[in-house]
């Protein structure tokens, strides 16, 4: 079985490709990337005007299964990811029960296999039940398929536990993804602390609830030599700390999400629960800092923190509504704005959405080298569309971007050589 | 547009009404004036002055806003501005002369009568208006009228006083749809 993707603009940061080329897929693998491939293929894709890149990877999503199937399931979550142009996602373990055992990892992989859509690279919990007290069996988790560990959704407040986790994870070369939040400073807040929270009378979360814990975690990464990854960085203060740490050789990486460079705390005005997330939306200065950090590489990757919630849960008083927004289906369109704005190049964007996440997770993806598994995303960077909840594959539609006009959308996705999305339609 | 009443004729009308009130009630004893907000209040003040000169007596004057008693409050597109009601004297046993600028359907006066009953039990209530334009919808008539002006239903009568409008005139014009 041969598939030939013709006339596309191939962007493969790892192989330093950024030109009009053809891509030949053969027996589930990339067989050739070159100008004007003449091979006879079983199927051909005309990718003229489109970008052809290594499959996009989202290192931070919530698929909600098991336990919260009314919000999302592995199936709806993977369909949403596929629609968004991703060939693989990393579901966080804050399910019910918490995904903290080998069988939980195997469940996710089994579901993904059964669905045969895109890949799942599970993230196991760092501590049992994400309670921050006892370490999980890292070795077993890894054997079950875990590519990273995280207590995401909750911080690891006990510094000693995080220290030991970072140390122990070295044996398995697993990255620990931390959700930085000083619980005491967080103190029941529900939006960024500042002018808007004062006006709205909503309990505020100071920036320092994030940055103070970022500072601590840098110390622990240095102390242990473990691999530490900062989830969803939202503030300039945290970024400054990470930039400094990296310049001094700390082994840390960091991500941000599209909402942190598109929106400010003002999106919360009128108590819009669709803009309620944790960490919260910050100020215009923070948005500018996030963009600078994306450009200079302080922020390594883009994830979505896709956090689906049902309409019932979000249709409530602001303080009672849950944190989180969906992101899988809007991520590419929102992120391409960075290229349009000149913040980063298209190649850098693909790097942050594909090659770099693969690097952090140590998975052999994110490039189109001959022989590599054929995970390929094809998107039309000029395609204009409006975010419409009726079109969502996700079970939920809790996003502040409803109604927004975006430019750029995935049209074709190949996972393991299977043509799983054809011209915008899931196969 | 030519006014149907100009400043001098308004003045004459006020003087005549003042005379008639005193004559009908045989003096100023027991009299009280209640002006309906807003131009009825202006007219009532003028009547008070005129009668003070004629009868050497200061007749108590109250101000009534009838909007809270209107029968169409819940039907109007925009609710009215509520002005002050100020009746600083007992109504019991008084002969109350209600004063308004224009008598039309009679509904304002109906509201005013309802309101007055909440303030006390006058011996008698009389009605003085500057203009009676007809088209009554309730069995109400004025005891004292400055001028009867026959009108069509599609006309509006504008009473303008110096105190409220900066000029003195009564004009009739076609309603603009």
């Amino acid at each position: 079985m041969k598939i030939l993707i013709k006339n596309g603009h191939v962007v493969d940061p790892k192989n330093n490709l950024d030109a009009a080329m053809d891509v030949l897929i053969e027996n589930k693998r990339i067989s050739k990337v070159a100008k004007s491939i003449a091979d006879k293929a079983d199927q051909e894709v005309d990718a003229a005007g489109k970008v052809v890149c290594p499959g996009l990877i989202d290192a931070h999503v919530h698929l909600r299964q098991p336990g919260f199937e009314y919000k999302e399931t592995v199936e709806t979550g993977l369909r949403a990811a596929l629609k968004g142009g991703f060939t693989g996602v990393c579901p966080m373990p804050n399910t019910s029960p918490v995904s903290d055992s080998r069988s939980d990892m195997e469940f996710l992989l089994g579901e993904a296999r059964r669905l045969s859509l895109i890949r799942v690279w599970p993230v196991g919990a760092v501590t049992l039940g994400q309670e921050g007290k006892e370490l999980t069996e890292f070795g077993e988790l890894k054997k079950g398929g875990a590519v990273a560990l995280s207590d995401d959704g909750r911080p690891i407040s006990n510094s000693n536990i995080l220290r030991r986790a970072l140390e122990y994870a070295k044996k398995f070369d697993l990255v620990i993804m931390v959700h930085c939040q000083d619980e005491e400073l967080f103190c029941g807040g529900c939006m960024n602390e500042g002018v808007v929270s004062t006006r709205l009378g909503l309990p505020g979360i100071p920036v320092e609830a994030e940055s103070a814990e970022v500072a601590r975690d840098i110390q622990l990464a240095d102390l242990t030599g473990g691999r530490l990854h900062f989830c969803h960085i939202s503030s300039g203060k945290s970024i400054d700390l990470i930039r400094q740490a990296k310049s001094q050789g700390s082994r840390v990486t960091a991500e941000t999400c599209p909402h942190y460079f598109h929106l400010t705390e003002e999106a919360v005005l009128h108590y819009r629960t669709a803009a309620k997330m944790n960490p919260p939306l910050r100020t215009a200065e923070d948005v500018a800092a996030v963009k600078r950090a994306l450009r200079d590489g302080t922020l390594d990757i883009l994830s979505t923190d896709h956090a689906p919630h049902s309409e019932n849960e979000k249709d409530a008083e602001f303080d009672k509504a849950p944190f989180g927004i969906t992101g899988l289906e809007t991520s590419l369109g929102l992120s391409l704005a960075l290229v349009k704005e000149g913040v980063i190049s298209l190649k850098e964007l693909i790097d942050k959405m594909s090659a770099k996440p693969a690097g952090i997770l140590k998975i052999d993806r994110g490039h189109l080298s001959p022989g590599a598994p054929a995970d390929v995303t094809v998107f039309d960077p000029e395609l204009e569309w409006t975010v419409d909840k009726k079109e969502f594959e996700s079970k939920s539609s809790n996003t502040p971007f409803l109604g927004k006009k975006l430019k750029g959308r995935a049209t074709d996705v190949f996972c393991d050589g299977r043509w799983v999305m054809k011209n915008g339609k899931i196969a | 547009m030519k006014p149907v009443l100009d400043a001098p004729s308004i003045e004459r009308a006020v003087a005549r009404i003042a005379h008639e009130i005193l004559e009908k009630n045989k003096g100023a004893q027991e009299l009280a004036l209640i002006g309906i907000q807003r131009r009825g209040v202006v007219l009532a003040r003028r009547l008070q002055q005129a009668m003070a000169a004629l009868a050497q007596a200061r007749i108590p004057l109250g101000i009534l806003d009838i909007n809270l008693y209107r029968d169409d409050l819940t039907k109007v597109a925009e609710q009215p501005i509520i002005h002050k009601t100020e009746i600083n004297f007992e109504l019991d046993g008084k002969i109350v002369v209600l004063v308004d600028d224009v008598l039309y359907t009679g509904r304002t006066i109906r509201s005013a009568l309802d309101a007055l009953v909440d303030f006390g039990r006058p011996k008698r209530i009389e009605l003085a208006v500057l203009v009676d334009r007809g088209h009554r919808e309730l069995p109400i008539r004025a005891d004292f009228v400055g001028k009867n002006i026959p009108t069509n239903e599609n006309e509006i009568v504008h009473v303008r006083f110096l105190e409220t409008d900066g000029r003195e005139e009564v004009i009739v014009e076609e309603r603009v749809a």
């Binding site: 602390e193 500042g194 002018v195 929270s197 004062t198 006006r199 709205l200 009378g201 909503l202 505020g204 009128h270 108590y271 019932n312 249709d315 409530a316 008083e317 602001f318 303080d319 009672k320 | 806003d65 909007n67 809270l68 008693y69 209107r70 169409d72 409050l73 819940t74 039907k75 109007v76 597109a77 925009e78 609710q79 009215p80 501005i81 509520i82 002005h83 002050k84 009601t85 100020e86 224009v102 008598l103 039309y104 359907t105 509904r107 304002t108 509201s111 309802d114 309101a115 909440d118 303030f119 334009r133 919808e137 509006i156 009568v157 409220t164 309603r175």
Partner: protein, 321 residues
């Protein structure tokens, strides 16, 4: 010359009321605030009559929906509604289905299904009033939403100041106490600033919210200095249980640093007026002698509260849905 649908409604005074809801003073214009105050003046007279009732809202139904207990505010609204001849029903959260896990929207929709024109709501979540107003057709009067706003309290405070000082423009007003958790403070700040007063907030630094200066107020931590040139001192109630321990160490120290004592009053202007939204913690934020003293207008606030709420119910309930 009233004829339904034919009447001219242009009033030379300007402002018109077009809101079915009263959610905050932040959203009102200066003209709208003045319209409520002027209307309230007319209604104050009604309460002084022998027959304290006008038929203005005859046939209208108003629901008091209080998720936090507040006899004072609830009663004030109840009297206001009754004096306008509206029917008013009380729902309290305890014993109703809300304590059985019903959502706010469902509760409100159920009430609305009984054809209620206006809902007066007190709720512990900031923004709950705006949320409710978005969710239902009936009008919503915010009787206190979390720590956000308490617009009728703000209006009655401003009404009382205007009544006593004959103006608002240029007055110096100081709000004293827990600004962070005070919906009364936020409503006062918005309303007073719009009408041209100079507003200072004074309290322990722990209870002054970040960025409050951007609302155009001065911040002062020293009450002795703050009281000196004020025309009005509006003393906020300290929530004894909620704040002690983290925000200030003890009631004793709070009273010493931020209580309005007889002693402290000597440094204030002789014609300063003392306000308090009640109920007063005597001897904590306000000394008993001062609360009962000649400069106190606390009971006038209560009286005026009914007139202001009559004005608000009257204006909002008659707006077409």
């Amino acid at each position: 010359m009233i004829r339904p649908g034919k009447r001219e409604n242009k009033d030379p005074d300007g402002a018109r009321w077009m809101r079915k809801d009263l959610l905050s003073l932040e959203e009102l214009s200066r003209e709208e605030i003045e319209l409520v105050l002027d209307t309230a003046e007319s209604f104050k007279e009604v309460s002084s009559r022998d027959i304290k009732k006008v038929p203005a809202l005859r046939g209208k139904t108003i629901a008091n929906l209080f998720f936090e207990s507040s006899t004072r505010t609830r009663t004030s609204f109840e009297l206001a509604a009754k004096r306008l001849s509206a029917d008013i029903v009380n729902f309290s959260s305890t014993g109703s289905s809300t304590s059985k896990g019903e959502s706010l929207r469902d509760t409100a929709r159920n009430i609305e299904a009984m054809h209620i024109d206006t809902i007066v709501m007190r709720h512990s979540s900031s923004g709950s009033a705006e949320y409710l107003a978005r969710s239902i057709r009936a009008g919503v009067i915010n009787a206190g939403d979390g720590i956000h706003e308490h617009p009728t309290q703000g209006l009655l405070d401003i009404f009382t100041i205007r009544e006593k000082k004959k103006k608002i423009e240029g007055l110096r007003v100081c709000l004293v106490g827990d600004i962070l958790h005070s919906r009364v403070a936020r409503s006062n700040i918005w309303g007073l600033k719009k009408l041209g007063a100079k507003v200072t907030v004074c309290g322990p630094p722990t209870l002054i919210p970040r960025g409050i200066e951007t609302l155009g107020v001065e911040v002062c931590y020293d009450l002795d200095r703050a009281v000196q040139d004020q025309d009005v001192l509006n003393i906020l109630r300290i929530q004894l249980e909620r704040q002690r321990g983290v925000f200030f160490p003890s009631i004793r120290e709070y009273a010493a640093e931020y209580g309005i004592s007889k002693e402290r009053m000597k440094q204030a202007k002789s014609d300063v007026i003392i306000m308090h939204p009640g109920p007063v913690n005597r001897g904590v934020e306000l000394a008993g002698e001062v609360a009962d003293g000649p400069q106190s207008v606390i009971l006038d606030q209560v009286t005026n509260g009914v007139a202001v709420r009559m004005a608000v119910l009257f204006l909002t309930t008659l707006v077409e849905r």
